[in-house]
Every structure is written in C-alpha cells, then in structure tokens.
Subunit: 434 residues, 2 copies
C-alpha cells in the first residue's frame, strides 16, 4: 500500500477497509507514514467523515496500539463515566466516590483542561499533595483496595491516539465525530471497565456546537461501546450555561464538598444523580436509572459520598486537612464583582464565554507550559432564569491581580444577557440514549 | 496570526485575506508553519477551493518568493506557451522554433514527465548532449541571441511553489484548480514573457478528468494572467486519445522532425498550428488566430521551423548529427506489435492508459531516481475513427526487453475499444477562451 493512495481514497469519499486503516495508523507509528501525510488524511476525514465500521476499526487499531487492562480479578461491576467536557462540570468529583460507595468499582481515567473546558485532573491537583500520576500496577492496586481510582491518562494506553491527537490539535482536525469517538473509545476501552456512562454535553459550552452533532456523537459512542461488548448509556445534558455556581479548580472542589455536605445546587445535583443513577443501573445496583437516581440522592444526603471522597484523597496522597477545612473559603488576592446593567431576567450565561473567561483568570492554559492558578475562578450569584435588579451582583471573578480580570470581564459581559421577559426553562437532561 | 487558525478559516470555507496567505506561505518557507500544517491546509483548499482573489494572491506571493526575470532589454514580443500536459503532446518542440522563426521571442521553461504525461525536458534530453540546465544569465543570453530558449525550471523561480508542490504530490492535494493555477502561473510569470498561450487538455489523458474543471482552469489561467498585465489565450484541446502517432521521448522528437520536414500528421499539426497561431496573434505577427494558423502552416512547409529547430539544438549543445540522421530510425532492441482482436472501427484509444503503458515501457519514471529509456515508446499505426480488420496492427511497443512490455500490453488492451459502428468525430480544438 502507498500512503498517498489511502489519502486519496478518503479524499474521494471511498470507504476505507480495516487493512487501509491498519497500514496507515501503524505506518504512522513506525514512520512510514509522515506527519504531513497523516494531517492531510485527517483533514480528508474531517470533510468526508467515516462510517460506523471505519470508526470501529480505527478505534480497535488505536486501542490495540497500547496496553489493555484486564480488571477481571475484581469481583464487582466496573463502571466508568466519561464527559465530553463542559464549563463548571465537576460531576466526576462527586459521582466517583458516590458510585464507589454503593459497591461499584469505578476505574476513572481523566483529562486536563482543554480549550475552554476544565479538566478533572487539574481540579484534583488543586488539592495539595493529590497524586494523579500512577502506573498501571498502582492503578489496579488502588482500584482493588479503595473501589475507585482517579488518575491521568497513561502513555501505556492507545499511543496511536496520543500521537494523532497532538497532530489534530495543531492542524484544525479535532472536530470530527469519528475521530472524537475513536479517540475517546480507544482510551476508555483500555481502562478495563465493563460499562460506561457518557455525559454528552450540548449547548454553547460543549465542544461540539451543533445539537445534531452531539446526538450523533452519543450514538457513535454507544454503538462502538456495544461492538466491543461493553454496556453503555449516553445522557445528553445541557451545557448552555455553566454547571453549578462555581468555575475554577479549587472552587469546583469546594462546591463538590458543599454538595456532599448537604448544600443544594440543583443543576449540579440533578446531572450528578442521573449519571450516577445510570452507572448504578449498568452496575446492577438499581433496576433502572430512576431507581439509581434515588439511591444517589440518598448517598449524597447520608454522607456516604463525602466519606468515600475523603478515602480517595487519603489513598492518593492528598491533604485531607486542606479538604476538611473547606468552609474556610480559600480565595485569590484579587476579586471583582460583575453587576447587572439593568433590571430583568438573566436569559443567557454563555458557557463558552465563561469558560474562556476562566482561562483568562488563570484556571486553564493558553500554552501547554502555562501554570494554573488553582484558586482563580468565577463564583456565580445568579443563574439563567433568575430575576435581577440593576447593580446587583451577577458573579464575582477571582484572580491573582486586576490585570487578569480585564479580558475575563469583557468576555463575561458579552456572555450575560438580561431580558425583560422571564426566559423559558431549559431541560437539563435533554435525552438518554442506550 | 496562528497557523491552526488559518487552517480552520479555510476548513470552515471562509475567504482568506492576502495577509493570511502571506503569513502562511512565508511561514512555511521560514519554518513557522510546519509541513503537517501546510498539508492539512492544502487538503482544506482541496475541499473548499479558493476564489479568484485568493488564487491571485497566492500566485503573487509564490511568484514573489523568487526571482522575476525582466526581458525588457529584448526589443520583440515575448510569448510563451504552456500545456497542462498530455500523452504524445510534443507540440513545444515544433511550436517554439516555428514561432521564433517568425520574429517572436520564445522564452520557454518546461517540465519533466509527470504521472502518465510526458515532459518536454525529457524529450529534449533524448537528443545526445542537449543541455536544459542553464542559469538565468545564460537563459537571457541565449534568448537574446537565438530568439528562443528551452530550459528546465530553475530554483530561482517561485521556491515556495517548489516546496509546496513536493508536498502536494505525496499528500493527495494536486488536483485543485486554484493550487494548479497558482503553481503554473507563479513560474510562468517569473519567466518574463508578456503574453502566454495555454493549451488546456481535456479528456482521459488530461490531468483534470472532468470537462468542467478543464474549462474552469482555462478561465482561472486567463484571469490571473490578465490581473498581472499579461495577454493570454487558452485553447481547449482534445486529449482523449494520444496526440500524433508516436509516444516516447526520442520517438516524439522524431515525429516532430518528420512533421517539420513535410510529413502530414493531421492532429499534431492542427494543435500546433492553432497554438502557434494564437502566439503569433498575441505577438502581433498576425491580425487574428486564423491568420496566425496560416502563417504557421507556411513556416512548417517552407522549412523555417526545422531550420530554427537545428539552431536551438546547436545553441544548446545538442548533437545536430544525431538529429539530421532521424530518417535512420533509432529503436530499442525489443518490440511487440499489438493487433486488433476483431473487425470494426477504433472508437477509443484511452490516452491515460497509453500514458501509463509508456511509463511501463521506460519512457517515464515510477520513482524519482528511475532512469529513462529514451528510445522506448509506442508507435500508433491506427488512430480513433480508423477502420481495422482482425489481426491488423494497432500499434507497436518498443522497450529494452520483453519484461517491460507485459504490463504495458495489458494497459493498452484495456485502452483500445473496437466498435462495429464508425464513431463520431471528436473536435480536436474544443474551444478558445481569451
């Protein structure tokens, strides 16, 4: 086979065989296919897409480029959750201990902040001492001992995806359903879970801007999961406004601690409980998702989730004293309140703009070597649908100094829309696909 | 500017500004834009195309990446011809001396065999001693002295095009109108001619397979030429069957010598005379193309073209003895006749297949370092529309040995179609655009 002929094949919208993909991906790892050929290929895939079989084959080839963990030695259901990424999406921090506290094994491998969205690893690292860098032996050991493990992507899983992803990032070829699916699934399947719940975000703060695309992605993820013999459910959730009331690494840990200690944050809890419910259902601890959701509510209320969370912190070398001290609000030096310019109802808090603003404040990275300010972020006093008076605070920005808030403030002012009429209530749980 | 943002801009079908293109092309030359970013960009251009302004800007930027020859010291019209490439297309070898013999300066920079098509340089190099490698000073000197010069592409012209073309070749991004136009024009404009005649080939043996695409290319070439203040005419000519009766490097030189010495090869002569006529018209030696065509016929007949051809050979160190000896047919050791399998009319001689067959015989290169067999090739006994009887020779293959003819024979058998009915006559000159 000749690389350029495979590129032309996809360019001309012909279906690639498994042999084509095998040659091209392995050729890329071995150097027979160059970076510039791979990027031309990826752009052709961007335009012409891949069908289900091609997506499945690509996933399998990338999965098999690395190690695949066998978790059969653990005599429990192993269920993981994956979110396509959002703003203020801190669900993993509550859901992982909660579901583990119900006797389900939760092998969770997460990512870092990407684009305008936050990352579970960065949030966990805002806890002093917390270690997300374990090898596969430790991963298996901690999971068996603690019933849950939360670590970062290892180089052992799907090295082909890692190499291809870096290239996609700098060549404008990230946003394609098949490439996204194969990238997510080649890593998720390597973890060893036997069931996966997907939180597919929709709206301004989601990575896929088009509603139809998110629905398609959910279907692709379910379909590929099933082809690999995994049980799977996708929950389509709203990401038009940030989830919960806090955005930023430590701020989000703090909000999770609040919720696990009885504070009501309705949207965050709802998404958490439905996703947890779906995991409990797939892990056979509930007869259906609704029943699972009720169990989740209970586990939040009775402190089981919080107790397990502390065990995770302890097991993974985090400072439990720092955690237990959460009521003593930890904040940056500088803060700035953003207030309403007129009376009315908040009809939009654009999650994308809020996400970009949080990066400006220091919550994320503009360049890969940027340092994160773990205490920086945004605290929302109001949410969509709330009534507000001119001059009242909408949200407060937290940053190292004033200079960091200038761009953030502009973005947030662009992102907030106040209307005279009360806006229609949006569905938080848009659909559930299995 | 950030390279990936420019890639996404084109990917999302937005119009690129001159600043975008300038940054991207110069960034590529300086290393700020990588090979893999350029190839992703080229694939995005392949899918979304470029409008006229973008094509013009790209041409100008690539043109200005190298030297531009000033031929104002020559007090004659400077007119060149460019062919998009075909099979058996040997027109340059007759046309250049013919037009020069009429007092027009012909600065001709040609290419080598590419894909299934032949190249003027390889044909010229089948003449022992003939030198196509001159620097720009020699180029100007020979042109002034001899009124015509035929050399190869120099590294001085459009280095950006050279670097980008190599990448397009191995990434499946050759076949795009704007990229083709900018590549042709950035080199042609550097030569210093003040008028250009384009021979845009149409049909199976053309580089662009779609008829509409060829017409569009002709319009693009004219439009860009005019934007740069050059006079231009495009002649759309048939390339469904090979041009003339001989394919191969020396074989084509030989056929040109025959024609310049009075032999009738009607299709070759017609294309040559119309293109020459257009050059004479643009160079103000004729009032219109028809009048130019008549002058061309005359110059073939009266030996002026042949006389000038010998002067070119002499000036550029070719062996004139070898040329003058053309009647002593120079052939390879081995030959094989292909005969008709049934009675009928030849309704197709697929130029693309004949081109590929000629490469198998040794006329072209499969890899860049392959050696060319200058005497190899195909001699056609019949052409499309000819009546033929079963067993009669259609053509004869010439090669070093039998092994070279096996694939060639298969290709040619695929390329020849004999039908019961006499096929309709095709137009050789399909259209003329200015």
């Amino acid at each position: 086979m000749i690389p350029v002929e495979i590129i032309k094949h996809k360019r001309d919208n012909k279906v690639l065989t498994k042999e084509h993909l095998n040659y091209f991906i392995h050729g890329y790892l071995s150097g027979d296919v160059t970076d510039y050929q791979m990027s031309a290929f990826l752009m052709a895939v961007y335009f012409n897409g891949m069908n289900e079989q091609e997506t499945f084959d690509l996933t399998e080839i990338m999965l098999n480029s690395g190690k695949i963990v066998d978790l059969n030695y653990i005599d429990k259901s192993k269920v993981d959750k994956h979110s396509t990424g959002g703003v203020g999406d801190k669900v993993s921090l509550i859901l992982a201990p909660l579901v583990a506290s119900c006797g389900i094994s939760v092998p969770m491998i997460s990512g870092r902040a990407l684009g305008h969205t936050g990352g579970t690893l960065d949030k966990l690292e805002s806890i002093p001492g917390f270690n997300v860098n374990y090898d596969l032996n430790d991963y298996k050991r901690i999971l068996e001992k603690n019933g849950v493990v939360m670590i970062g992507q290892t180089a052992d899983f799907a090295p082909a995806d890692k190499k291809i992803y870096s290239l996609r990032d700098v060549t404008g070829t990230v946003d394609n359903l098949s490439l996204i699916t194969a990238s997510i699934m080649s890593k998720k399947l390597a973890e060893g879970a036997d069931a996966i719940v997907f939180d597919v975000k929709m709206g301004s703060g989601a990575n896929l801007q088009e509603k139809d695309e998110s629905i398609k992605l959910a279907k692709y993820l379910i379909s590929v999961s099933k082809k690999f013999g995994k049980k799977a459910i996708a929950v389509l959730t709203d990401m038009d406004e940030p989830l919960g009331n806090k955005i930023g690494n430590w701020l989000e840990v703090e909000e999770c601690l609040e919720v696990m200690n009885g504070k009501k944050v309705s949207d965050l809890e709802k998404v958490n409980n439905v996703l947890s419910g779906a995991m409990l259902y797939l892990g056979k601890k509930a007869g259906n998702i609704d029943e699972g959701e009720k169990i989740a509510e209970e586990k939040l209320k009775d402190g089981s989730a919080y107790k397990k969370f502390l065990e995770i912190i302890e097991e993974q070398k985090g400072d439990t004293g720092y955690i237990k001290d959460w009521k003593n609000l930890k904040r940056t030096e500088y803060s700035k309140k953003i207030s309403a310019e007129k009376d009315g109802y908040i009809s939009e808090m654009n999650a994308f703009k809020f996400g970009l603003a949080s990066i400006e404040l220091g919550c994320g990275r503009k360049k890969t070597d940027d340092k994160i300010d773990y205490l920086a972020g945004i605290v929302l006093d109001k949410k969509c649908g709330d009534k507000i008076r001119k001059g009242e605070t909408v949200c407060e920005l937290w940053a190292e100094d004033e200079s960091k808030t200038i761009n953030a403030e502009n973005l947030i002012n662009e992102g907030i829309i106040i209307s005279e009429k009360e806006p229609e209530k949006r569905n938080l749980i848009i659909d559930i696909i299995d």
